[in-house]
């Protein structure tokens, strides 16, 4: 690759955050702490018992990133929450500075970490276009030149001289996106901003992005949890995990790796080791572990097997008439089927409970699957309240040859029994 074709070069980039409360928050607090340390006494503002710990408690949001982005490339960035994606974008858009390392940029950068930054409700749509454009780095002349295009794209022409506080939230977002989409900058950074507006407009935005990238050679960095938009927009993709880039290259491969990173290729899950698999913050019941009974792999045969599962939990509160739901999902977490076991358990706070059951599998075709375990209360009106939700065990269906080469995209994931022909 020629050096002149590089849009962004990142080397050894690190960003460290301090954990816990930063400073005392007040001058008095900081002076108190400083004076206490000076006299060798315990800091009155530190958390009790964490004297030594506090000092070294830092967190590497980015831990040595090296990345080269070519001009005109559309790069997708995926990874779990907390993987460092947003921190990377923040550093690139200069909202905050790195702790170590260097980023070299060739071209103007516009970042859309949020749509409508700096919009003022009292100003009209047109005035906000000028203001937002300027905040994003355009001069007034540049905005003037693009004004008609921006208004047309936003579909807000009729209301353009009305204060934006009277806009619907959809119009607001459309207008904001239109400004950013028409920026003249060579590099565009987007953090999942397309997850707004109606479907038609989202599609329009994606098309617009692809178009400007191809026709004007603009570089795009796009962060999203929505794999389908990543597929549509990006031609290359990186996967981040714990502040590092773990994969860089083909989009499909990256998506696979991203999905796999979460999967546990094990018939036993101890949940305290995988806090990200818990979906509720303060569940009334805490699932501690789950396993396939008498199994040391996760391979199952479609024709013969049911899934033998054991779940163990601890009650955080008194529990009355708890129900269980087990969902079977595709590897990318598209739900397929669910089984429900109502009102099977009541218990006191602090007690531990467990359940062993066989989960009937629908006739799943060969592939990778996963489960969700949900405890809930049924309500009298037929609805329910979840009290604990976890990502459950993964399993692979390995046997059961399909009659033809199976295309899940068109056929789905369940092979129904052969047709029963009547006469």
């Amino acid at each position: 690759m020629e050096e002149k074709d590089i849009a962004i070069q990142i080397s050894g980039l690190k960003k460290r955050y301090r954990l816990g409360v930063i400073g005392g928050g007040t001058l008095q607090g900081d002076i108190q702490s400083w004076w206490a340390r000076k006299r060798g006494k315990e800091d009155p503002n530190s958390v009790v018992g964490s004297k030594q710990h506090q000092k070294n408690a830092t967190f590497m949001a980015l831990d040595g990133i090296d990345l080269t982005v070519e001009k005109g490339q559309r790069l997708g960035i995926i990874g779990h929450n907390g993987a460092g994606k947003s921190t990377l974008l923040k550093l690139l858009s200069r909202v905050t500075a790195p702790t170590e390392g260097k980023i070299c940029i060739d071209g103007r950068i516009s970042s859309m970490l949020e749509v409508g930054t700096g919009f003022n409700g009292e100003l009209t749509g047109r005035e906000n276009i000028y203001l937002n454009g300027a905040i994003l780095g355009m001069t007034k002349a540049e905005v003037d030149a693009k004004m008609d295009q921006i208004i047309a794209f936003s579909e807000c022409g009729q209301f353009i001289d009305t204060p934006v506080k009277r806009y619907s939230s959809g119009m607001y977002v459309k207008l904001a996106f239109s400004v950013a989409a028409h920026l003249d900058s060579e590099i565009l950074i987007m953090d999942e901003v397309l997850a707004v507006g109606d479907v038609a407009f989202q599609k329009k935005c994606l098309n617009k992005m692809s178009e400007v990238s191809q026709s004007e050679g603009r570089t795009i960095l796009y962060v999203s949890h929505n794999m389908s938009t990543i597929r549509q927009l990006c031609e290359k993709c990186i996967v981040m995990s714990h502040g590092k880039i773990i994969y860089s290259g083909d989009v499909e491969e990256a998506i696979n790796i991203y999905l796999q990173a979460e999967s546990i290729e094990s018939p036993y899950i101890e949940y305290k080791n995988f806090p990200e698999m818990n979906r509720l913050k303060n569940p009334k019941v805490k699932i501690e572990s789950a396993r396939f009974i008498d199994k040391d792999d996760i391979l199952f045969d479609r024709n013969s097997d049911k899934l033998p599962i054991e779940i163990n939990w601890e009650n955080r509160e008194d529990i009355q008439d708890m129900s269980l739901r087990v969902e079977i999902l595709k590897f990318d977490r598209t739900p397929i089927a669910a089984s429900i076991y109502p009102d099977f358990y009541s218990g006191k706070k602090g007690e531990k409970g467990s359940i062993k059951f066989m989960l009937e599998m629908p006739n799943l075709v060969t592939g990778k699957y996963t489960t969700n375990f949900t405890f809930f209360h049924k309500l009298s009106n037929g609805s329910h309240v979840n009290i604990e939700v976890v990502h459950g065990l993964y399993f692979n269906i390995v046997q059961g040859p399909e009659p033809i080469d199976w295309q899940s995209r068109y056929f789905g994931n369940i092979l129904l029994p052969e047709l029963e022909v009547i006469d």
Partner: protein
């Protein structure tokens, strides 16, 4: 050959680099901020711009009553009402500049956290849009001056009045300088914000606003004039009312202080702007 990068992002920059060139490139943004302030300020208010007349007018009336009538402080033979107003109007501009820019980081954290533009544009825009308020108040002051002149008071405009634009510029620079120093410190220590309101009101008493500088003892006069705001107020009054003193040497000194404060302010501001999002 070394590649020429548009921007290089590193942990720390050269402290002495004030990055004023970049601010200049964003001059359109400054104007748009000023326009925004101006357009949104009077929306859905009853009196609109008149509010800016109310404050100095009532302050002046109260001061005339308390310090003029009750305490009987001398006012260089100028009508007390005019004397106090000539001090209040510039002081109000200076204190507005200081207090409103001192909130730059905390007040704009939402925008600053999402997109980069030279942060210095915000306090500059604030100071410029405050000039408009000042002008409204100044026109009111001129109106009263002319009224009193027509009534035959011992008031006359001198050539020093021509320096007014320079005096305004200096107040803007000084106010912004102190303001951004405070704003750089308040990202970590919020309680400094409280100190600002308190400090500014004390500072007013160290400036010849409710008393005439000429009535001070020579020692006190020197001490008071070392306050960079004092020569400004004094010259303003001399220019438009023809009373008081013309402390040229002290004015020179106050310019030096202004430049130092502003320079320090910009250095601190630039240093803080890089990482304040992590601490704010």
């Amino acid at each position: 050959m070394e590649k020429k990068w548009t921007a290089v992002i590193e942990p720390s920059n050269n402290l002495m680099d004030l990055k004023l060139k970049e601010v200049w490139r964003y001059k359109d943004l400054i104007w748009l901020f000023v326009q925004r302030d101006f357009k949104t300020r009077y929306k859905q208010t009853l009196l609109g711009p008149l509010w800016f007349i109310v404050q100095p007018l009532f302050t002046t009336i109260v001061q005339t009553f308390v310090f003029g009538n009750l305490a009987g402080l001398p006012t260089d033979g100028v009508p007390q009402f005019l004397f106090y107003m000539a001090g209040n109007v510039p002081w109000l501009y200076f204190s507005t500049c200081l207090t409103s820019t001192s909130n730059t980081f905390v007040g704009n954290a939402g925008v600053f956290g999402k997109v980069y533009f030279p942060r210095l544009t915000t306090p500059i825009a604030t100071v410029i849009s405050s000039v408009l308020n000042f002008l409204i108040q100044f026109v009111m002051f001129l109106g009263f001056t002319i009224y009193f002149m027509l009534r035959g008071s011992a008031v006359h405009i001198t050539w020093v009045a021509a320096l007014t634009p320079l005096l305004i510029l200096e107040m803007a620079m000084l106010g912004m300088g102190f303001g951004i120093i405070v704003s750089s410190l308040t990202t970590k220590y919020r309680d400094l914000q409280v100190l600002v309101g308190f400090g500014v009101s004390l500072w007013m008493y160290a400036t010849p606003i409710i008393y005439a500088a000429s009535s001070l003892s020579p020692k006190m006069y020197t001490a008071i004039m070392l306050n960079p705001m004092s020569p400004i107020v004094e010259l303003m009054r001399y220019g438009w009312l023809g009373s008081g003193t013309t402390p040229w040497v002290f004015w020179g000194l106050s310019w030096i202080v202004t430049f130092i404060v502003l320079f320090l302010g910009i250095i601190m501001f630039n240093k803080v702007e890089k990482t304040f999002m992590d601490t704010v």
